[in-house]
Symmetry: C2
Subunit: 192 residues, 2 copies
């Protein structure tokens, strides 16, 4: 809802454009599907927070270009003035790790490795785009964009550090699981 208003302060856009813009700008901490975007734009228009202009196109459906209104800017500012309440985002990887004792450690190792691989390339991207943004011409928005990017970078670096620590620990556990010996009786079906 408000992402749409926010991005429209940059310039007029269609619903499709907004989808793209979301993915390439706020995408790493905020996502919105088209099933959400299109109906929301209608509502915003009905409330007079945006105006729509239709562009005819051959072959393709009409493009609806939305422009934010003064009322829309006020609504955005009002929303920005409401303190964000702390959220507890769900983390499926952590949940699976929490119950990890129920399953061979190799499985968990795979999950953590996948995360590390994925996020390692992401950090690089963050650093690159941050550099690009600070190099180019400065807009009033620029410092804010850099702050959010910095958040992503620091969080990812923390994840990577955790990932390395965790992999070391999990590999220790995996080794113990392979040689069943040590403590006497066990109902294990491993061994041999």
């Amino acid at each position: 809802m408000e992402v749409l208003l926010g991005l429209l302060t940059i310039g007029p856009m269609s619903g499709y454009d907004l989808g793209q813009a979301i993915r390439t700008s706020v995408g790493f901490f905020w996502n919105e599907s088209y099933g959400q975007i299109y109906p929301n734009l209608r509502n915003l228009a009905a409330e007079g927070l945006v105006t729509a202009k239709t562009e005819r196109q051959k072959g393709k459906p009409d493009r609806h270009i939305y422009t934010i209104t003064k009322k829309g800017r006020e609504r955005l500012a009002a929303w920005l003035a409401v303190a964000p309440q702390p959220e507890i985002p769900r983390n499926e990887l952590l949940l699976k790790l929490f119950f990890g004792a129920q399953v061979p450690a190799e499985i968990l190792i795979g999950y953590v490795e996948a995360m590390v691989d994925r996020e390692r390339v992401l950090v690089q991207k963050f650093i690159q785009t941050s550099k690009a943004v600070s190099a180019q011409q400065q807009f009033p928005d620029t410092p804010y964009w850099l702050l959010t990017a910095r958040f992503g970078q620091l969080e990812l670096e923390a994840h990577l550090r955790w990932g390395e620590e965790t992999l070391a620990e999990l590999r220790k556990i995996a080794k113990k699981q392979q040689k069943p010996a040590e403590s006497g009786k066990r109902k294990s079906h491993a061994g041999k």
Copy 2:
């Protein structure tokens, strides 16, 4: 759904107990409301993944104690063996920061300060409970619990570092906003 199965591997519990257990163990990365827990327990029982025993109580409603079955353990293990897909958790604070140019910087400073204050006490809690857990008797689950706690700790520390950086930056911006001068013509309504 699966959190319930997972926690029931520790021991039989009622729906209420599970709510408590969730908040005090996985609560920092996974939450489940009672409106979710009670219906889910029914479904689990209907599927034969848990069994229920009713305890009469005076004054209070009957307590339903749930115990995980062999089938339930298998279901849990099957779920654990499915790789978690990467999620993009929404972060309202970051979204508001991203559009921060639309609003006086003092407002944003308040948000970040609130976050820093909140999370500073949380890190301490993490460190304390981690110590307590490693000091007490070791269960097969213990190392896994420590790993998830470590994640929380590292992430929070990253947030705090970001918070300090961000506050410094925002305060610079706030100062500039107070003295309008410097660059010539502006359509600002501040000043005087």
